[in-house]
Every structure is written in C-alpha cells, then in structure tokens.
Symmetry: C2
Subunit: 460 residues, 2 copies
C-alpha cells in the first residue's frame, strides 16, 4: 500500500511533532506524588486536546484518581477497529541531582530527547496520536476505526483501569490492541514482544510457640517455625533451580524449535549481563539459555523472608513465627489461580509437626502469548520493516503487563506490544531519554500499521 502523502506529512511536520512531545514532557505528571494532582489533570487535558483537534470524540473519566482519556474516531463501522493503550503519567524524577538537565525541562543532546517520561510512555504513546494526525491531515481521515485509552496511573498500579474496561466493555470493542510501552531488542534490532510472563503473589507464615522462647530452656522440645519454614522453602526447587511444586510445569507450553532458534540468534553479552546484576555467575533451570529462562520459563522466587531476631549479635530464642513472601512468574499456558492453590497445598502438605500456618494469596495475572501467525502480527512486522528498515525479531519479556491480560479477558483480543524505545533509555532512572530517530520511526511504523490494517491494504 502506498503511504507517500502520510509519510511526507510526517517529514514536513516532524519538528512540530517533536515540539508537541516537548510540551507534554513539561507537564509534571508524577502519579505517585499527591503534590502533582493538578499536573495530572493538566496532562490529561493536553492529551484530550490533541484528540479534539483531530476530530476525535473524547471523554475524560475518573473515579477519584487521575482522569482516563478515552478518544474515538470511527469512520466506518464495517472497518477493523484498533484500540491503542498508553499512559501519560511518569515515574518520580528523584534523585534530581543525578540528572544532567532538569527532568521536566526537555533537552535534545546527541539525537536524544532527555526528560522524565520521554520514552515511558509519553513519547512512545504520542507516536500513535501523531500517526493518526498524519493520516487525517494528509488524507482526510484515519483508515481504520481508532479507540485510544490513555491513563494516568500506570506507574502506581492502574487502580481504575480494570473497572473502566469492565464498565465500558461494549464501547471498547475492537479487533486488536496496540501498546508501545516495551522496547526494541537493541539499537538496530526492532522487536515485537509476543509473550509476557504472568504472576501471582503469596505470603505464608508458620507459627510455633505463642511467644519467643528461651532456646536453652525449651530448645529441642518444641518445633521452631523458622527452621520449619526454611525446611519447606528448601524443597521449593530442585538442585538445578527447577520449581518442585507438583503440577507446576503441567501446562507450560514448551518453546518451539523456531522460537529457540530466534532467541538463539539474538546477540547476548553474558559478561555485560553479569556486570549489570552483580552476581558471580549465571544460574537457572538446566537446559535453557538465559533469554529462555527470563522470557519463557516460570519461576518461584522468595522475595522476602523474616522470622525471629534480626538485630545485631546473637539472641538465644526459639522464635514464635516466620514469614515468606513469594511471587511466581508464569508462562503460557499456566494459570495463576490453579498454581496459587498448588502452592498453598505444597505448604500444607509439608507443614512440619508442631507448627500451624496461614497462607494469603494476592490476585494474580495470567501470562500472555500473542498468536505470531495472525494477520495483525504480520501487519505489525511489515509496518516495522517499512519504518525501521528491517523485519522485527519476535521476543518475549519476563515481566507482566496486567492491562494486556485485562484486554484479553474483557475484550477478547490480543495486544501487539510494539516497543519503539531502547532498554538503555534509562526508564525509571535519572536521565531518561528517547532517541529522536526512534520517535520518528515509531510514528512512521504506526502510520504504516494503520494502513496495513485498513480494508484496502491488500493484506489478507
């Protein structure tokens, strides 16, 4: 499909597009800091005004937190509908003294725009609005039905978003979702993230005596809950790091030969990775590479453990209780509810005599795997190839993006995770930045994707 007019509009208006990004970056939309409550509203209004100027139908909705911007442009009900999700809130900028230019006073140096939120997610999110603008200004309208949901609480747990999706389920109906809040694999290696790990959290406490006991007078005659908890936790994995909870791997979809080949073809510098984490060596499930372990294998991590005396020096007690905090990262097709129950049973069945236990689970999020053979993936790959000059690699991420699971659950569609930025853009750190070229190519890719998803793209 020909996109000359749209791309020409991008070329001639890119300085303005960059200026718009600069304006948005000046608004201090730090969702974690109550002092910025008015800035949150200003940020939402700025985004809403962008949509209004393009003829979108715009709503701001809030149940107490920062407004969710919901914008729609639906040229033809028979056309495919694309839902774009993004967020206008940012991480706190602290520590300020480590920034080379002020976090809310954007500065372009060496082809990068430096500011809090430059890549996460103001710059990446804005690419899709600017792509719509290029289509509308150069052809009169967008070539697909577009719905945007841009929230202001992503960095603080998206407290309102699930209710919003549930309440507006029919208004949000779509064929595919798009989120640009991930990264390319590396500079020069654009990527589509087609898999995310899920997660669930649990906290288990073992109780022994009703109070700490003198270990001389009582030790040996009553069960020690710290010892007992360590004993059970020590059985969570086998020596190779494989999770030993019965049934844990039953639903794990093994990587295909093609996936392993794709991951194996990616450059990966083990020493740089080790320098980054500060561990003395790599460690993980036998038979898998580091990328496979991070992206496509489940984990059961003890995130915190405490019991008894934790001050300086020794204290001769049999402690009264001990607690472990655990999160399991899940991969397709594991189910968080099923495995929460399996973990609870694991502890209950191994609870040593003389102790009692409490198990508390937090709501989890299931893993996600996009169909890599779908026409949406093919369209996204072609769009990226046009904009970035090479076909994207297909990667996964080890983290979880709960809204992707929400979209799948409530709207029934897959999400295309199209990251335009780099892992090295200092997300959540001082001197966050976004490469100006990545901003431009992201807009170009989004222009192409809209075209390729339109009825007259020629794609099947």
């Amino acid at each position: 499909m020909r996109l000359e007019k749209q791309l020409a509009y991008l070329d001639t208006h890119f300085d303005l597009f960059l200026n718009d990004l600069t304006q948005l970056l000046r608004i201090k939309t730090v969702s974690a800091q109550p002092v910025h409550a008015a800035d949150m509203v200003a940020g939402a209004n700025w985004v809403a005004d962008q949509f209004r100027s393009l003829g979108f139908l715009v709503e701001l909705s809030s149940s107490g937190g920062p407004p969710i911007v919901f914008a729609q442009k639906l040229p033809n009900p028979a056309w495919p509908t694309v839902l774009v999700y993004g967020h206008y809130d940012v991480q706190p900028p602290e520590p300020l003294e480590l920034w080379h230019s002020p976090p809310f006073d954007p500065e372009i140096r060496d082809g990068k725009i430096y500011a809090r939120g430059a890549t996460d997610d103001k710059g990446q999110m804005l690419t899709h609005i600017k792509a719509a603008e290029a289509w509308i200004r150069s052809t009169g309208d967008v070539p697909v039905n577009l719905k945007f949901v841009i929230e202001g609480e992503e960095e603080v747990g998206s407290r309102q978003i699930t209710d919003f999706f549930r309440n507006r389920q029919s208004d949000l109906a779509c064929d595919v979702a798009v989120i640009s809040d991930t990264s390319q694999y590396a500079i020069g290696i654009p990527a589509i993230t087609y898999g995310l790990r899920g997660i669930f959290a649990a906290e288990v406490t073992f109780f022994g005596p009703s109070h700490d006991l003198h270990s001389g007078i009582y030790g040996g005659a009553v069960a020690n809950p710290v010892t007992g908890l360590a004993r059970v936790l020590g059985q969570l994995h086998d020596a190779s790091g494989r999770v030993a909870v019965p049934g844990f791997y039953d639903r794990v979809r093994e990587l295909t030969v093609a996936e392993r080949a794709e991951f194996g073809s990616l450059p990966f510098d083990e020493q740089a990775f080790l320098d980054d984490v500060g561990s003395i060596s790599l460690f993980g499930e036998a038979g898998f590479s580091t990328l496979e372990r991070k992206w496509a294998r489940p984990t059961c991590e003890i995130n915190g453990l405490f019991g008894g005396y934790t001050g300086p020096g020794p204290k001769t007690i049999v402690p009264a209780q001990a607690t472990a905090k655990i999160t399991c990262r899940l991969v397709p097709d594991q189910n968080s509810g099923e495995l929460t129950a399996a973990l609870q049973a694991f502890f209950e069945e191994r609870l040593p005599p003389g102790l009692r236990m409490e198990f508390r689970a937090d709501h989890g999020c299931d893993p996600m795997l996009t169909d890599t053979e779908s026409p949406y993936m093919e369209a996204a790959s072609q769009a990226i190839e046009r904009a970035f000059g090479r076909r994207p690699v297909l990667i996964r991420e080890g983290g979880s993006i709960p809204v992707v699971a929400t979209i799948k659950e409530l709207l029934g569609v897959d999400t295309l995770l199209l990251g335009w930025g780099q892992n090295t853009d200092n997300l959540h750190s001082p001197n966050e930045h976004f490469r100006v070229d990545d901003y431009r190519r992201g807009i170009a890719a989004s222009i192409a994707l809209m075209g390729l998803l339109s009825p007259d793209s020629g794609m099947k």
Copy 2:
C-alpha cells in the same frame, strides 16, 4: 556428723538472717541500667561488709564495671577448699505496674519474700554467707577453706569475670565450686543440676546480585540468595528434628540407663508445658522424652532469618542477600570449636551455584557434666537430704552457665549447682519471690555441706 550448734544458731537467728536479706534486696543493683551505678557499688560494699564482719579477707576489684567481691577465709591449708560463686546484680524490674508490691521494697506474703533479686540471686547467694556465719558464731570458724566470688554483672554477660578468673587463677585454687543460681525440680523435690548444655552462635549470609533485581526482568536467570539460604537451612535437620550436620552427634555422650530412669521418674505435665509455650504439640528428636530433649540432646536452632523485602504487601524482587542467625546447644562431650567448624563446612559444601557466602562465629561455651559419683556430689546430696527431708533428684538444665565452663577451664574443678529456689519464683519477671522456707533450708543445707566436706566429716 553432728551439726546441732550450727543449726540451733540458724534457728535462733533466722529472723536476723531474713532481715539481712531484706536489707540487700532494698539496694537497687540493676546492672543493665547506668542510672544504678552508685547502687552497684553500694551492693558490693554491703556484701563485702558481711564478709568483713565474719573475719574474711575481702577485696573489691573492678576493671571499670561493678566491683567483684572476692572474700576468703582459710583456716587450714591442709583442708579442702570450696569456692562459692554468686551475683548481687539483678534484672531490671520493669514493667513496674505488674508488681503487687514495689520491687525494691521487700514484702513477705504467704511465706514468700517478694522483691527483685529475691531468688536470683541475692537470696540464694546469701544462704552460703549465712551458713558460714552460723559456723563461725557457733564453733569459732568455718570447717573448710572458703573462697567467695560475688559479681555484679551476671545479668549483663559477666564482662569482667573471665579476666578475673584468669588473672587470679592461683588465688582461686580450690577443690570444688558451689553455685546456687538454679532451681529445685519442683516444690518438695530438691535437685542437684549435674549437667548443662553448651552453646555457640553463628551468623551466615548468602549474597546474590549486588542489588535487588526486578524479578520479572531477571528472575530465573540468576540465583536468589534467599531461596539458596532456605535450601541449605532446610537440610540442617532431618524430618524427625535430628541435626544433619555431619559429625554433629559423634561425641554426644548417650544418657545412661540410670539417667533415663531418673528423668523418667520425675513428674512432668505435658499439657501444662504446652500451655506455657503455646505450641500446638510437642516436637523433637525421635526416641527421647521432653526432659531428655531439653536437657541432654543437642540442638541447632535458627534464631533469626531475614532477607529481601519484609514490609507489607508483595514486592517483585530477586533479593541481594539473606542472613540466618543460628545457635547450637551442645551436650557432653561435644566441642563448640569443632562444631562451629563443622557448621561452617556444612554451609560451604552446600552453597548453591551463583551465590557467595560469609560465615561469622561467636565464641561458644562447652557443655558441662559433673561426675555424679564424686564425693562432692555425695556430700551435697546428703546435705540437701538433711535440710530438705529427702534426697535430691539429679537433673540437668538445657541452658548454659558460662562461668561453670570458666571454672572448669581455669581452675580445673567441677561445680555443684545447688538450686534452693523454684522454677515458679518469677525469675526475670514481675513479682519475683523466694520462699522463706527455701531460704532457711538453703542455709541449713549449706551448713551441712560445709560440715560434710570438712576433714572430720567421716565421709570418704
């Protein structure tokens, strides 16, 4: 041996002896609280004056802390020499609101004298001074050579006592030591404690990444030190609670048939014990009774464990480190140095890949077992039988009394642990008390013991 005169003196002067105890109990010798520094000196002087009035040679020595009172009366170098150890300092009295009468204003109710230190250790210690007084006032002198070491730092770790014993080793030479700082087995069941457990402390830390990592981005690819530490700690015991450190039991002296019979004959209320500790059931090494587990079997207790996030809610990290605090209680003939090394080797050999560790040991104290067949034990048993009307049972204690090991190491003699008080006397708690009858019988037993250890006792 006939003791009519001495016991008659006790009878006629008991009110004065009780009055003396009351005077000592009024002095606020709380070693843990700096505000009582002058009271510590007053307490030491009060004790020293008791000895001076009886013609003892008295020294007060201090290397900065509360004075150690060293008093000697040596009628004949050819006679046996008995060393009595005790302490004039007391635990803090708080919480004051739980006392029914002020802790430093002694009050006799229902045949018990209530005050902080009544039994631990002012009352029990004073029995031996009063026994010497009864001998001296009724016969002109004591029937053995007597050396008393009464310190003021027992409740805060006896900081000066080891150096004192080391520096004055030859001056402290003796044939046997006596300490009354334990308890009878129960009311009506006097006891000699012939065994104590030893102890050593260790702290082990496992290190993984140099900083907490995002468990989504990194989890599965690097070793988690909390998981690793739990894995090794989980191997510290077998399922029956037996310590799994190689060689741990090699030197354990098994209980004799006679010891097991003696322990088995003692009344023991399991439900009362459970109500006291608040555990749901008993637990310990298979094949041993609760008393045997507490008194005569070694333990390896995790006293504290911490790593990663310990605040409310979940936190998705791979933690940087984890630490366990461990104390092992030892029984004859285990050696604290040897087993500290064994524990360190246990961790080093099991350290999971991808982690490093640090192991730090605290100085330990070896277990103690007095020869129950010695003439000293027989003399003590006969003395107690005369004063309490029945022969004492031979018991052990699960705790450690480091000065007993110091006396064994530096003076080469056994210690007779002759407890006159009761486990229920609220040691270290509000409303500490000492039964007036136990005070009187303790003095009588000490009078008898001095006689029975004298050359003309007729005992072999």
